[in-house]
Symmetry: C2
Subunit: 239 residues, 2 copies
DNA sequence: CGGAGCGTTGATAGAAGTCAATTGACGTGG
DNA sequence: CCACGTCAATTGACTTCTATCAACGCTCCG
């Protein structure tokens, strides 16, 4: 059930019944990728794109110095390598943070959409544009915010993105990511990551036990992370 | 002459004569934006997208703490706010680093292209995908490289992007950006930026006088910045 | 039982930020 | 022609943030 992709897109624009039908077909071929395994490998030249139906995943880059940087975190309903439709080869990998159910959508099918379904194509384009907007936001927080503000911002972002696909429960959500992975996402050391999480806890902005995160005070968290949701472009609108 | 957009796109895929003709029309309405002035302002809801014909520009974000972060540097032939075609409102501004000649392309015209010119549409989509790939690369360097490696990487990237639009002269190019702006792009303080530039000079990787940059040793510069050009997707290919 | 992965803490080193001041290039106006 | 203001680049001194190294406890699982 690629229901979550429909949620994702229809949070930005109204989908016609015909478009919904097309999206439903995309879920045809599926596979389960266990946690810690690659969904796509760096250097691959995929012939299909992966739509994550459930689970958390991340795009990662390995460096010559042995370090790793995560450049995006994906949730249900995200097309993790839609860009491979037009780009040469994967310049990064995508790893499953938790077990992930993914649908494999052939490029042939997507390319045909670009020929015959302009509106749906624009919405797919849009989803990559939102990816880019998220990248920019991460650049801003990474360059100009303290570690704890950066983390606060990330939590706000993940919360809203999960809300779109109906995966939040009140102010609580499941965020199955280790501190090592988090530190790779924020460009910090694991030790400092740990202390940064402790900071947010001690300031009673969030409660975080295992993979269960509860936002205790949204307003203060958002203020601390200088968070403004505009870049997520949540809101139906003709596109 | 939006010649540079044609260079930009045809570095990635062959353009038909018909497509070239369409692109030529895009240069119709132009304006000159002086250095330090905004090309697009944060909060704008543009009805046209700006194609930079000449000059350097940058996307920037202002933070509540008064700091600024530059999330992208654009060169001739870049469509600096193509994404405004599908996104709500500008969540960042675009400033001219040097005097910029820009062409204003109405969204109406671009939207029509998405209905009638699937191949050209894919190439426009592609250019936003490359933007995103650049964002990811910046995230990686910002998170996991030293300041001097980050700068080395940026110089390699700018060099290749300028090469595509035929704006390099041997191993020299014009890079009219102040140290304040550079520091906002790399997320550093201006003081540290200055010392980082000095580092590259002292290691004889680059020579940098005013806005003239000469790469003295490409291989060592690229190695220092852990640079791999793959993410720029330079190379003609059916897309 | 023992290792592996993860979270946690302390101590220390190093990278980068901040504050402050100087220099040089340039343009303007008296 | 020179005083003056402005802006960019530069340097020094000091502070703060984050990385690194090392160690320990916990849980899960072979």
């Amino acid at each position: 059930m690629p229901h979550c992709l429909k949620l994702n897109l229809s949070a930005r624009d109204r989908l016609t019944d015909a478009e919904c039908a097309i999206i439903d077909q995309m879920g045809a071929r599926q596979k389960l990728v266990p946690a810690k395994h690659d969904i796509v490998r760096e250097g691959d030249i995929p012939t299909e794109s992966c739509l994550v139906l459930s689970g958390f995943s991340a795009r990662y880059h390995l460096l010559a110095n042995g370090k790793r940087q995560i450049s995006a975190i994906h949730v249900s309903g995200d097309f993790v390598d839609l860009h491979s439709l037009l780009l040469n080869e994967m310049d990064h990998g995508v790893v499953a943070l938790s077990d992930c159910q993914v649908a494999l959508v052939p490029h042939r099918m997507l390319r045909e959409l670009t020929e015959t379904e302009p509106h749906l194509s624009r919405l797919l384009w849009l989803s990559t544009l939102i990816d880019a907007a998220v990248h920019r936001r991460w650049l801003v927080t990474s360059g100009r915010l303290s570690a704890s503000a950066q983390l606060a911002h990330l939590l706000c972002e993940i919360f809203l993105r999960l809300q779109v696909v109906e995966l939040v429960d009140g102010n609580r959500f499941s965020f199955p990511i280790s501190q090592v992975e988090l530190s790779d996402a924020l460009g910090l050391s694991t030790v400092h990551m740990n202390r940064t999480i402790r900071d947010l806890r001690e300031h009673e902005l969030v409660s975080w036990k295992g993979s269960e995160v509860t936002i205790l005070n949204w307003d203060r968290l958002a203020e601390h992370g200088d968070f403004d949701a505009a870049y997520l472009n949540i809101g139906q609108q003709a596109r």
